[in-house]
Amino acid sequence: MAEESKNVTFFEKLGTLDRRWIFLMIALAVIIPLIMKYTTSIPTSPLVQRLFDKTEDLPPGSKILMSFDYGPSTAPENQPMADAFTRHAFEKGHRVYLMALWPTGARQSLQLIDELINVEFPEKGYGTDYIHLGYKAGNQGLINTLLSDFTAMYTTDIEGTSIDEFPMMEGIRTLRDFDLILGLGSGFPGTKEWVQFAGDPGDIPVGGGTTAVMAPLLYPYYPKQMVGFLGGLQGAAEYEYALIQAYPEYMQKSRLASTSMGPQVTAHLVIVAFIIIGNITFLVERSRRKRY
């Protein structure tokens, strides 16, 4: 008897565990793999593969609009997506147009230019292969306007140079002149608004990537209203995987998302362990209550 009551108090304690122990375990689950540099690869799912194939099948020189609708806070999730898309687009010889619905997004695209385009694709020319159009206020209203008149809002690039001076802006009058829109988002306005205000009314292929929070919300739009999308870091890792499968030379360069998946796995396992512990304590508690 004495033994059992001791057990019960143990489970009782576990059931109402001070959440700071959970916090500690999560911190360790993230820090240790980061220090040990534990990595993992994720095979591509159809959702991501379809978007990859779309970019793959577009004829070289196609126009891809990439909108940066996020800030530094979700950059760990969104930036690897932007990196993977850009590598793929340039590999295929497409033209990339960078813009932002979030003021913070313009800085993220600058980072893309500084850290990826200038380093890995120095041969790509500004104004011929890619252009940075910057941020404009107006949220979904902006998309609305761009759909009917792109040049009404974007008369200059981010530096203030008139777009007439860039060969790649020739023939861009509305959003319909793009072959693919990639919305990289983490909230409102974001990928969903690109579907609602550009893809649907303009019948333009929309794809993109969102943080894992937003991803389940996009499933209803797939596959009819969206080509495909990357859900969170895992989506980015899957795109990297697809890219490496098709172009093995990216094996070394394109590993950003895959390396961040290490802490992901351990933290998930910790949470799963806690859920199991929680349920065991609950079941033990309940059977005890039933007995008395």
Binding site: F188, P201, D203, P216
Partner: protein
């Protein structure tokens, strides 16, 4: 030499022949020497693009007999525009072979245009055919949205009808909504414990209907806190929300007969920054330990930070949002959650206003419409798929089109 002669001929035939054609000139001269006449498009018609804001003219033509068929020489089509049947024609577009439509979106509204089209082959241009005159105009109705108009009108009629029924005093039954029954319980508990009530109207501005719905619920809660003399704290993250919130709370205190208890500090601005706001609200929670926390409005990632902090201080928590992404966190961490539509029903439910209740019944009519169409649509589509019957397939297509964004 003969090659140059051919070039000259080409130049003469196509006065506006694009440079790109020369770039494609094959080095194998045999292909060039074969000079043939290309048949023009089968027909050509132009009309003002319907349902638009003007400035667009749609051109349609039949493929040239040599486009993909016959000698298969056609590489594309060249389109020219002039402001009269004769005179200067400028080039407005070129399209690849296999295309039968082009929208000229550079037309000036109200100007009369004539268009000419010619099939382009490596060996030269076909005869040009002309169509026109045509004038682009703005239209008063967007026909592609006719279906949307019908659906909108149906819903408006249904909702207005029940609002009217409510206004004339018909009895309308509305089921119990657990999260809203909890409002009185929460206010009561705060009063007993002598602690405050925290109300968070989301982090979006007044252009989001969820914020408006949250503020409408705030009005009902404020009436209760005024009656029970319970302290109310409403930190907001938008300046406009602050203005509207103050007006609302002030009115509620007035209606409850306690304007003396109202002061502007009840509703106060923190910052527009999502996480700055949540950092401050977390601070308020752990320091003031409110007995009840309401989160009603539009929420993003901060939802769980708020709900977990609220749970750690033991507050009774009622949440409600129409952000599908955040509902799971509220459901997991709060005592009661108003799911999606329930948020918009809340102010009607709490106010017990007959007209407002009527609008809820109107929403139910909308749900009935949705369910009927889903069931019929799925049924017809399934029958069409099984039988392969043309009539059923057409009916199924029509039903789907009824709910498409481009009718």
């Amino acid at each position: 030499m003969r090659r140059y002669a051919v070039l000259v001929i080409i130049l003469l035939v196509g006065s506006h022949l694009p440079a790109s054609l020369f770039a494609q000139e094959p080095t194998d001269s045999a292909a060039v020497l074969e000079l043939v006449t290309v048949p023009p498009p089968a027909y050509f018609e132009v009309y003002d693009t319907p349902s638009d804001h003007g400035g667009n003219i749609t051109l349609e033509w039949g493929l040239s007999p040599d486009d993909g068929d016959g000698r298969n020489n056609v590489t594309g089509y060249q389109i020219l525009r002039g402001e009269g049947p004769t005179g200067y024609f400028e080039m407005v577009g070129e399209v690849l072979k296999g295309t039968t439509q082009f929208v000229d979106n550079t037309a000036d509204e109200g100007t009369q245009y004539h268009y000419r089209i010619a099939a382009v082959a490596r060996t030269g241009l076909s005869e040009r055919i002309m169509a026109g005159p045509v004038v682009s105009r703005q239209q008063w109705f967007d026909r592609t949205r006719a279906n949307l108009l019908v659906i909108a009108v149906l819903l408006v009629i249904a909702i207005s009808y029940y609002i009217y029924k409510g206004a004339i005093g018909s009895d309308l039954y509305i089921r119990k909504i657990a999260g809203l029954e909890a409002v009185d319980e929460a206010v009561g508990r705060a009063t007993e414990m002598g602690r405050s009530i925290l109300f968070v109207p989301g982090i979006q501005d007044m252009d989001n209907v969820q914020t408006v719905a949250g503020i409408a619920i705030l009005s009902n809660i404020a009436k209760r806190t005024a009656t029970y003399e319970t302290e109310l704290d409403v930190p907001v993250s938008r300046s406009l929300t602050m203005s509207v919130g103050r007006e609302t709370v002030k009115q509620a205190y007035l209606e409850a007969g306690r304007p003396d208890l109202y002061n502007d500090d009840i509703v106060h601005y923190i910052t527009d920054e999502q996480f700055g706001y949540v950092a401050a609200v977390d601070g308020i929670m752990v320091r003031q330990k409110p007995a009840a926390c309401f989160y009603l409005g539009a929420f993003f990632a901060e939802s769980l930070i708020l709900a977990e902090t609220g749970s750690s201080i033991g507050a009774i928590q009622v949440a409600g949002t129409a952000m599908p992404t955040q509902l799971p966190f509220f459901v997991a961490a709060c005592d009661y959650t108003l799911i999606g539509e329930e948020l918009f029903a809340a102010s009607a439910y709490l106010s017990k206003d007959k007209k407002m209740m009527g609008s809820l019944k109107g929403q139910d009519a909308g749900k009935a419409i949705a369910m009927i169409f889903i069931v019929v649509g799925v049924g017809v589509a399934t029958l069409a798929a099984i039988t392969g019957n043309d009539g059923l397939t057409a009916a199924s297509e029509w039903l789907r089109r009824l709910f498409s964004l481009n009718f």
